[in-house]
């Protein structure tokens, strides 16, 4: 009985190890662009630390399927299983976000905060812009990436038209203010989600 019990634990430990290794194996590839722990220092490449799990899963599936167009991400996701996508999404959703604090432009920051309130970004992305469910974390995201994504939505270059409609009429200097404010806002720590 004792042996059997031990055997069972060993089996469980192996299973846990295998499933972790299974997802961890691709983590170095992810962080080579998205940065240590998923905090990106690469222009044009988003931070994926602390992103909601469902948001990550959806985007990785859409990249794999070629529905969300990316010449970088689609080839990388070719042949990846749903299980691996879930494991990777889970891993990065639990990493803490490092917020860029330098080069703060107080005037731009205040204007962005005011615009985010006016546009009601917090209704879906939550009041601290941590994101939820299928909606991404905006707080602490790279400034350049936030701006380029908002521009892409406005040009109707994303599969989902919800954000295109939400951003309708927002001018480019307003996008710059929003991106500056959001990139310098702190989301809640991963552990408190």
């Amino acid at each position: 009985m004792q042996l059997l019990r031990k055997g069972r634990w060993a089996l469980l430990a192996t299973a846990l190890f295998v499933s972790t290794a299974f997802s961890q194996e691709k983590v170095p590839l992810c962080v080579s662009c998205h940065g240590p722990g998923g905090n990106s220092a690469t222009p044009g490449t988003p931070s994926i630390a602390g992103q909601p799990k469902l948001f990550m899963e959806n985007q990785l599936v859409l990249f794999r399927e070629g529905i969300r167009k990316s010449p970088v991400m689609t080839p990388l996701m070719a042949g990846i299983s749903d299980k691996e996508i879930t494991a990777l999404s889970d891993h990065f959703s639990k990493q803490d976000v490092r917020v860029e604090k330098g080069n703060l432009d107080q005037k731009l920051f205040s204007r962005g905060r005011e615009l985010a309130g006016k546009l009601k970004c917090g209704i879906c992305h939550l009041s601290d812009f941590s994101g939820q469910k299928q909606m991404p974390r905006l707080a602490g995201q790279r400034e350049d990436y936030l701006a380029s994504e908002m521009r892409a939505y406005l040009a109707n270059q994303r599969p989902d038209t919800t954000m295109t409609a939400a951003l309708y009429g927002v001018k480019d200097d307003e996008i710059r203010a929003l991106a500056h404010f959001l990139s310098r806002s702190a989301p809640r720590p991963a552990a408190k989600k």
């Binding site: 959806n58 879930t86 599969p159 409609a165 939400a166």
Partner: protein, 407 residues
Amino acid sequence: MKSLVALAAAAAFTASFAAYGQAKPPPAWHQGKSAKQADSKLAPHPGKMTETPAGEIPISKLKLPRGFKAEVWATGMPGARAMAASEDGKKVYLGTRVIGRVYEVTDNGSSRSVRVLVDKLTQPSGVAMNKGNLYVFAIDKVLRFDNVASNPGAQPVDMTKAFDLPPEQHHNWKYIAFGPDGKLYVPFGAPCNICEPPSKEYAQIRRYNADGSGKEVIATGVRNSVGFDWHPKTKELWFTDHGRDWAGDKGFEDELNRVTKVGANYGFPYCHNNSTPDPDVKKAKACEGVTKPAALMGPHSAVMGIKFYTGKMFPAEYQNTAFVVRKGSWNREKPSGFDMVNVRVSSDGKATIRPFASGWQEGGEGYKFWGRPAYVQQMPDGALLVSDEQLGAIYRISYQKPAAAKK
């Protein structure tokens, strides 16, 4: 090249709106919110795009009338919606929306296998079989796979040009079906929550010959129909229609409609339900000449698939009654729908609703659902298949006469 395509798409999009002088992007789900509702947190529920194994589906929570049984029949089809089956029921094809795939499920007797028949399409939710040929309708594409069940490598015939599809995406994901007249019926939803459609080609149901010729508008004023079937005796078309959002928990209700006259008007956007004018889009005599619904199906309940039952398995009382699936609300504080109801219809077009399958949503107040039923398909043995869009699964509902109670 990619950016060129994107630029062209953006230009086409801008042009399509400039054409009718409305400098706005496609109005999305939150269009029509009143100032009072600006801070509402209600929003469409997120879908799940990854596979759900059978073991993670709490099928025992489904409640059915005595003698009926539900089992998980197939899994591994994220986003599964409408179904079309081969004549022998051995192959079932499923359309999807965002994930862009059409699945083929093969029944091997004791188990099912799944493969992706075609992918990378824009919301290919419409699937229908006609003489062994599978039709697939995406937003911007129509494909036909000839003799698909016996020819697994069938290359699709591109039929897009024959069907004259309008450019807007919103509410233009399709349900399609062939009628008893051999024609293909296709809905074109209003590209908004509530608006005067940008052009005449929206908010209507059309029918075509199987090759796309002979286009005819058979119903107008239809906001967003994603399910229909024909009464087995009268051969009349019955269609489900989603009511407008952002008009409160009580309204407007989704509808079940009957078509008795080609070209009849069902009211959108001016008139809803039993002759109630719209509070936002107004005109004089808003409800004049508008055909009333056969039945109101509940506010925001998201009424989807409908199938008149003609099988031999279920008790005789179900013969020629309709099973109607309600995927469940989002634009409502208190959930509605998340079930499948049975609708009895009379020859004068009256319809009465009674519960049939429920339990996808647990509890009455908050949103605590584990699945969202979408479509119903009758199989050759008389069992029903019900697709679950949330979990990418098909359930089989069968009937066995309960043993007589012991005296």
